[in-house]
Symmetry: C2
Subunit: 82 residues, 2 copies
């Protein structure tokens, strides 16, 4: 039997990189009356199912996926959650 | 002193709603040689800073933000993480 591993990858903007989506959501929330919202940070999550029972191998694969496709190293940082 | 609460909100597509971003990422990963990726689900995360020390009040506010702006109840489900 072949096992599967579900890996969560969170891709967010690095500290210091402007987050226009977050800024706009903050503005909109304030305009809607949520006056006590002082900051919004947006990020993306990907839940990836890998046909690989070995969790450490799955993590290495997820790392490579981030490097090759999911994250732009200039502006993004990523976190792999098993 | 006024306290702050950081609330994380995860907005994802409901079960059964097509996730074109996830499907395209899966296809791209397969094309890049990650043959053992069998599924990708995408979602959005928002980290919201609320000037409110009471966690339960902050949760209620976050719930209202989802209803008013962050999620479309027809296609999205959301999760509030304190």
């Amino acid at each position: 039997m072949v096992g599967e591993t579900k890996v969560k990858i969170k891709v967010e903007l690095k500290e210091g990189i402007t987050d226009p989506e977050g800024l706009n959501i903050k503005k909109s929330l304030n305009l809607l009356g949520f006056d006590n919202v002082s900051g919004v940070k947006s990020s993306k999550m990907f839940e990836i199912t890998i046909k690989e029972a070995d969790k450490e191998k799955a993590r290495t694969e997820a790392e490579n996926m981030c490097k090759k496709l999911l994250a732009n190293p200039i502006i993004h940082s990523y976190e792999i959650i098993l």
